[in-house]
């Protein structure tokens, strides 16, 4: 095993061990923190497919995170108020079953990614960054003014949604759900990177002319990657909303997009475990620096600057000390 794989194994085991220990030591808040890490890492894994493999610098991934969150919020709100979602053309009830919510979140965010991606990918480079940012803002303003579902106040769910056979109100059990999903996503992302699709997508990032010359259309590759990326980030959004039992337009703001991107970068762009390490470090910093000063974001900004300017491979790059591998 090389150092990167060792580090990855250590991190994923640690992420499991800490909540297990916290459960026994009766420190439920540590479990909540670990759950947050797992969920944000999942969002980062989603973004990393577009950003790391595909080179698509999306500053609008908060849109999918938020859509996932609202999928949960809307379904659960209807379920808790016993109001059907729609009565015509057919009766659609809300639900508090996580698997159904996840499915809806994934489908909704994938559809949104399809529309936003289809339009945005007509452009490239800096235009792409800005147009994704603008689509994110558009949804943000829409959510704020959409009073049927709380507008700026957001939507609160009194009780966490249910998963068959588990008690999701126990912090550890909800953590395990998120952890398993994160592991599944990591597995999928690893397979994807090595699959024919990953090879072609990565080639399209490195050299568009090469891909076209072998008879593959980069646009289709990128759009597919964008949709997969959006769907995973959307799933993370649904889980995040369930963690907080709350969803609000904040999830859609461009600061959220920036933060998801920060997880990916701190860990290392294009590294499979980059988002996991990045999210863990971000949460850790938030709590450590937050203890030092109310103005902790100054330090966060400084740290981010140092990483971008001097440690381009992120934490994994600094530790394992080699370029991103694509084998």
């Amino acid at each position: 095993m090389n150092r990167e794989k060792l580090l990855n194994t250590a991190v994923i085991l640690l992420l499991l061990a800490i909540p297990l220990w916290a459960h026994m030591a009766e420190e439920p808040f540590l479990i909540t923190l670990a759950t947050k890490v797992a969920i944000l890492a999942l969002a980062g894994v989603g973004l990393n497919i577009a950003l790391g493999i595909g080179g698509l610098v999306s500053l609008g991934h908060a849109a999918f995170f938020g859509i996932g969150g609202y999928a949960m919020g809307i379904l659960a709100a209807h379920a808790q108020n016993y109001e059907p979602l729609a009565e015509w053309p057919m009766l659609i009830e809300g639900t508090n079953q996580m698997p159904v919510i996840w499915l809806v979140a994934v489908v909704a965010s994938a559809l949104a990614a399809l529309v936003i991606g289809a339009l945005s990918l007509r452009t490239s480079g800096v235009y792409f960054i800005m147009i994704t940012l603008a689509f994110g803002q558009m949804l943000y303003y829409f959510a704020i003014s959409w009073t049927a579902y709380g507008g700026e106040d957001g939507l609160s769910i009194w009780v966490r949604n249910e998963f068959p056979g588990l008690n999701t109100l126990v912090p550890l059990e909800f953590f395990l759900i998120c952890y398993v999903i994160l592991c599944a996503a990591l597995w999928f992302a690893a397979r994807l990177a090595r699959a024919p699709f990953g090879l072609a997508l990565s080639a399209a990032r490195q050299c568009e002319a090469r891909v076209e010359t072998v008879g593959i259309t980069p646009y289709q590759l990128r759009l597919t990657a964008f949709v997969i990326s959006g769907a995973i980030t959307g799933l993370a959004g649904a889980l995040f909303a369930d963690l907080n039992r709350f969803v609000s337009p904040t999830m859609l703001s461009w600061h959220t997009s920036g933060e998801i991107m920060i997880f990916v970068i701190i860990g290392g762009v294009g590294r499979l475990f980059g988002p996991v390490i990045g999210a863990a470090l971000f949460i850790l910093l938030e709590h450590l620096l937050g203890g030092i000063s109310d103005y902790w974001q100054i330090y966060l900004g400084g740290l981010l600057l140092i990483i971008v300017l001097y440690a381009r491979g992120g934490v994994i790059g600094a530790i394992s000390g080699r370029e991103v591998a694509h084998d």
């Binding site: 923190l33 003014s145 709380g150 957001g154 907080n244 609000s248 937050g290 109310d294």
Partner: protein, 378 residues
């Protein structure tokens, strides 16, 4: 852990020894960074002033910054309840954060005392025996403004608020009391900074007065631009846009404007006089509405702790409900839904030396209760 403030400043023993001695733990979640941090700072300072004055070494206050993010607030609340086992929570400034935190907190058996936000749901259908609002129900100040408009003989108001739930509640509250006609009703963008278009509409509408609810920087922008536009219709607003912290940034543009508030620094009662003097002495600035609410909240808790142990929930709840403390607002009592029944005054912005501040000119509503109490089944 962000800020752990251990009370009992009378005796300077080690923090460790004190937290071991603390019998009542209070968790304060409020906004101390990001937009709107000024409000949280004021609530905290008012609250801590009262705690300091009480000098009790058996109360520990844990203060955390929510950054005005609902997600942060929820997670801090989870930690305070699950890990730190707080008995009482307070501090939240914004309605959306309160909606995210309060129902879960009260359901877990914690008392929550709101020093600022009063969303209608928590006053009505979703009221809870462990939830007390020490400030106002969100509609109250707007209702008082509507009542004042009637008293002042205003017959054709132009009303505006941001396009979000609290904005809609504000205009609903105003219209609940106001009996005249509406020259226009406009919902502006959240965070909007330029109101030239709205002011042009107002000018053209033939209104005889303007009512607006635009919290924070939005209100500052509106007032400056309104004053500069040459439209000189009388303006009425809730206290939020005319409070001590914000008024200095608005400057002369606010002079003479009538606004509604349940408190002002010139309210004539001994508790208030003492509070204003102590606050100015400690923090070297005039107290704001928010500081007064934080101060009242702390004193309400202290009064209840004097009568009952917080672990005896029923007794403590009854002690809170009785609200036997010297409020800086003068008379203060709770309605059945644990929301205040209080006077709401009309203030006018004045200048004292080079400081802009308010003075009370009338009483808008006397012993006013909120409109949602009937929906509360408690």
């Amino acid at each position: 852990m962000k800020t752990l403030t251990t009370m009992a400043l009378a005796t300077a023993v080690s923090a460790l020894a004190m937290s071991a001695a603390a019998e009542t733990k209070i968790g304060m979640i409020t906004t101390l960074s990001g937009g709107g941090a000024g409000l949280g700072v004021d609530v905290r300072d008012g609250f801590m002033l009262a705690m300091e004055q009480a000098g009790r070494d058996d109360i520990e206050v844990v203060i955390e910054d929510d950054q005005r993010k609902p997600e942060s607030a929820v997670q801090i609340a989870d930690r305070m309840i699950q890990s730190e086992k707080v008995d009482i929570m307070t501090g939240i400034i914004w309605s959306n954060l309160a909606m995210a935190v309060v129902p879960a907190a009260t359901a877990q058996g914690v008392f929550y005392l709101s020093p600022n936000a009063g969303p209608s749901a928590l006053a009505g259908k979703r009221c809870h025996e462990n939830y007390f609002n020490v400030a106002w129900q969100n509609d109250n100040l707007h209702e008082a403004a509507g009542a004042y408009a009637n008293d002042a003989g205003l017959k054709n108001s132009y009303i505006l608020a941001p396009n979000y739930p609290a904005g809609k509640d504000a205009l609903t509250g105003y219209k609940r009391m106001y009996q005249g006609d509406l020259a226009g009703e406009t919902y502006t963008k959240m965070g909007q900074t330029d109101y030239a278009a709205e002011i042009a509409q107002i000018r053209a509408s033939g209104a005889d007065s303007v009512y607006f609810f635009l919290p924070g920087g939005m209100g500052i922008s509106f007032l400056k631009q309104y004053a500069d536009s040459g439209v000189d219709l009388p303006v009425v607003g809730p206290a939020f846009s005319f409070d001590q912290g914000i008024l200095q940034a608005v400057g002369g543009a606010a002079l003479g404007i009538k606004n509604t508030s349940q408190w002002n620094k010139d309210l004539d009662n001994p508790a208030n006089t003492a509070f204003v003097a102590a606050f100015e002495q400690k923090y070297e600035r005039l107290p704001s509405l928010y500081a007064s609410q934080g101060y009242d909240t702390a004193n309400l808790i202290l009064s209840a702790l004097n009568k009952a142990d917080v672990d005896d929930k029923d007794a403590f709840r009854a002690a809170l409900k009785a609200a036997e403390f010297d409020s800086v607002r003068g008379d203060f009592k709770f309605g059945d839904n644990h929301h205040p029944i209080q006077n709401i005054y009309v203030r006018e912005v004045i200048q004292e030396g080079d400081v802009f501040t308010n003075k009370i000119i009338a009483t808008g509503l006397e012993n006013h209760a909120d409109a949602y109490a009937a929906e509360c089944k408690m």
